[in-house]
Each structure stands twice: as structure tokens, then as C-alpha cells.
Subunit: 256 residues, 2 copies
DNA sequence: CGGATATTTGAAATCTCTCAACGACAGTGG
DNA sequence: CCACTGTCGTTGAGAGATTTCAAATATCCG
């Protein structure tokens, strides 16, 4: 693996506390691999042999039941995924699929667990990382159960706006059908939800969302730090300060 | 604290791997306290000073937004809760409220984090525990997004049946309104969902659910280990084998 | 036995999904 | 260059599910 890549990995909060030797050990058998778009890396129910870390591109985590499927998260660099399954040596609960050409670091699960048992600082980092993912899911469930479709979309737009550096025009970084599934609605309904938001000062042209009047949008969305995570990428966090401020100030919260 | 209680705590997977000294250290400043029913132990957004472990009774974790509230989990002994917030030294994302008179062990968060950093085996246990909670939430989201109300109820009944030792008559262990909120529907709708299940061989009298014909119920519910967690209590697991079998055999899966 | 609370039922309103059709667009191959 | 084709997004109409409001009934507790 290239030194620059190792450097990027090393700088993740997950790996920052561990000794040099053990860092070398854990990255020893690791692969940094590039996958094309639309490839399923792992199916629901599969045994998990690697911890995955998305270095570049985009990955969708999705669940299936009874011929229906739903997007549970969309990951952006740098994010770990299926960490909990690695820790527990369990089968995957979600499928993982690339949405774009993606560069992914794969760390052998066995070595990962071994080092975790040897290095307390690392084990703490892992506990923290999983805890961050857990809290992401709590927010996700609350978002799903407490808000209706239009409210979820409005908050999605506000979250994206913060993550993209507070522009007036927010760009949807993937297909709308995927967004619809993430928000827990059909593609048709997402279309109608966008139409409803016209009354709140939103204009949509293709992937571009123009926020004409932020105030009514926020009044509808009622963003809240206990439901919305404006700071880090979707889930699988990989280290961010969990001391949120609210309302969110300008710019993205500091990343490791 | 009484020796018998310490014994129960010691036997939890979370504490089983650590040294005697550190176990004494972490339980040093711990309180074992009894709370009446209906008491809110912790509000959403509050700073978290203790790790809670439910030893007896029942606790509801719930989230609020915009004057609506939703039950996210109902805990039964023995379960940890708000562990992720403790690990991250963050504010609670969920409120915690007793549903019954409950005995709860409160461990100072500060000491907990300190010991975690000192003892790798303990830190690994914590990582495992949080991972189990995480996977519980993944199942919960899938359940919520992929199934409709009646399907969720049908699976709830099957899950309870397994947990109660596969009787023909399953008892709902709390108010129906709470169950409705847990299942993501209104109390009125839960009532109608029960009525629909009459066609699938279900009879309800008060808190008792009689399963007359299991086959059609299972055909409707389509239980699945990737969505349903028949083994442990709601969430906050506190240690269970994550190597599920399916379909579930008789009896409850082994607890620590 | 009250009186408060929980549950059930009905009816209307709202939201969401499904199905179908249409237009926009990109890539292909002639 | 242009038709052809498949995918994606939008729109409309109807069906279905869920919520809300109101009222009736049941249950629990003092």
C-alpha cells in the first residue's frame, strides 16, 4: 500500500491511538482495492471476513425482506462499515454495494480482533467508533418514526447544505431513487415531496436543489441535534467530535 | 451492594473478562437503586453521568420531536442502556423511563471510561456490547422500513412467543399503547392490527394473545434472523451468542 | 362504588403506495 | 447524424394504509 494511503488511514481516529507496531500489524494483510460502481461487496447474511473502510467513492448499505429492499445508509469517505459484525464475528445484517467507483480498504477481521484484544487504546477507539455508528442509527430511527416524508426530505436538504459548506444550491450526490429509499419512501413520493417544498422556497432542477428562502424551510424541518447529524458522513463515522453545537454554525464540523 | 447482586453483575458478559481489582474499582462508586414506575431517569439531550444497568423491572427508551414521541425500545433485565453516550462522553439521544418499579445499577461514567482505557479485555467487552446494541438497532430499522404495521405485530408476537418459552398463549408485558408506539403505530391502529390477525389464527383477550394456528401466522410474518432478534431482551443486550440459529429452536438462547 | 385511564370501534381526512403513461436523457448501432 | 432502446424522473388516478377525531366500552385502582 502507498505511504500516502497509510497516512490517511493512520490519521483516522480509529487508528490514531495505537502503537506503530500494531498499526503495521493490522494493515499488514490489508488490501486497498478499487471497485466499479454497482458492485455488491457483501450480501446480507454473509459471514464477514474483513473490516471495510471507504477511502473514496460511495457505498450504500441496504436491507432486504420479502422482495422489498431499503437503503439504510449512504456512506462517503472516510467511513468504516460492518464494524459491529467484525467485532462480534457475526454475519452481516446489511448488504453493501458501491454506488460509484470506489476505493476501499479491507482489513482482515481476524487480525483486527486480535489487535483489539492486545491494545487497550485501540479497543477503546473501536468502542468509540461503534458507539458513533450506534448514535447515527438512533438518529435514523427517530427520523423515520417521528417525521413524515416531506419533513424527512426537508431535513435531508438542510443536512446536505451544512455538509456541502452552506451553499444556496445543494447538489444531490446520487440517484433520486436511492435518496427516496434512504428517506423511506417511493421514488414517486419523493417527487411529490419536492413539489410540496416549492411552497417553502425550494426549487429543483435535476440534481440541483435551490434554497430560495431558508426560513420557511427551517420552520417546516425543525432540525434538531438529537435527530440530525450535520457533522459527519452518513454513518460509520470514523471519528468526529460528539459535542455538537446547535444550531449548526457555518462550515463542516472538524474531521480528524 | 449485596454480594448476590455483585455476583449477578459479575456474570454479565460485559464484566466477565476483567480482573477482580478493576471489577471492584468500577463497582466501587456504583449505586444499586430502586425506582418507582413511570419515573424518567434521563431526558433526551441530558449529559450522561452514569452507565445504567437494568437488574429488575422494565425501562422504556423513547425519543421526542415536535410534540410527538416514539418508543424506541423496551428493556428487560439484564440490559445496559445509554452505553454509547457513556463511551463517547456525549449527551443522551433518548429518554429513559421506568415502566415498572425497577432496580437499576448506576455506574459512574468517568470510572467506567477510565477502566476501559486500562483494561483491554474490558474495552473489548464494551466494544462487543455496543456492537450488539448496534445490531439490535439495525434490525429495528429494517423492521420499521420493510414491514407494515400488521407484519410488525405478527413478528412481535412470534418473538415474544420464543422469549416466553414457546407457549400457546403469549402475554403482552406492558400497556398496549406502549407496544403500539414501539411498533411505530397508533394505539387505534394496533387494535385494528390485532383484529386483522384474527384471520391468521390469533385471539386476543386483554393482555393475552392466543395463537390458535401458528402456520398461517408464520406465513404472514415471515420471521427472519436478519430482522428479528428472538434471543435477547429488546436492546442493550448485555451478552448473548450472536451465532443465531434459524428457525429458532425451542427455548430461549443461552444467556450469560 | 366511583372516577380516571386504557382500549376499542366508527367515520372521515390524510398520507402513501401502486400502476400506468409520458417526457427527458444517454448510449448504441446503423 | 439519426433512429432505437433502456433507464430515470415526473405526473395522474385509484387503491390501500394510516392517522385523527369522536364516542362508546372496558379495565384498573383507590
Amino acid at each position: 500500500m502507498k505511504a500516502a494511503d497509510l497516512e490517511r488511514i493512520r490519521s483516522l481516529q480509529l487508528f490514531s491511538g495505537m502503537s506503530e507496531d500494531q498499526f503495521n500489524d493490522v494493515t499488514q494483510g490489508a488490501y486497498l482495492q478499487t471497485f466499479p460502481a454497482g458492485l455488491t461487496l457483501l450480501y446480507e447474511g454473509d459471514p464477514v471476513d474483513f473490516l471495510y473502510i471507504l477511502m473514496d467513492g460511495a457505498v450504500e448499505l441496504q436491507g432486504t425482506w420479502n422482495d422489498k429492499e431499503s437503503t439504510l445508509a449512504i456512506l462517503r469517505p472516510i467511513s468504516t462499515f460492518i464494524l459491529a459484525a467484525v467485532v462480534l464475528e457475526a454475519n452481516a445484517l446489511m448488504s453493501a454495494r458501491t454506488l460509484e467507483k470506489s476505493q476501499i480498504l479491507m482489513i482482515p477481521a481476524e487480525a483486527f480482533r486480535r489487535i483489539m484484544a492486545e491494545d487497550a487504546a485501540f479497543a477503546v477507539s473501536v468502542a468509540r467508533e461503534v458507539s458513533g455508528c450506534y448514535r447515527g442509527l438512533v438518529r435514523s430511527i427517530k427520523n423515520q418514526k417521528l417525521r413524515n416524508g416531506t419533513e424527512r426530505l426537508a431535513n435531508y436538504i438542510l443536512t446536505q447544505q451544512v455538509r456541502q459548506g452552506n451553499p444556496d444550491v445543494v447538489v444531490i450526490p446520487h440517484e433520486k431513487r436511492t435518496l427516496a429509499s434512504l428517506l423511506g419512501m417511493t421514488a414517486e413520493n419523493l417527487s411529490r415531496a419536492f413539489a410540496q417544498l416549492a411552497d417553502y422556497g425550494i426549487e429543483v432542477h435535476g440534481a440541483e436543489i435551490r434554497i430560495l428562502r431558508p426560513v420557511p424551510l427551517r420552520r417546516l424541518a425543525k432540525p434538531n441535534p438529537l435527530l440530525d447529524n450535520h457533522a459527519p458522513p452518513g454513518m460509520g463515522g470514523s471519528g468526529k467530535a460528539e459535542k455538537e453545537m446547535w444550531p449548526p454554525s457555518l462550515g463542516m464540523a472538524g474531521r480528524a
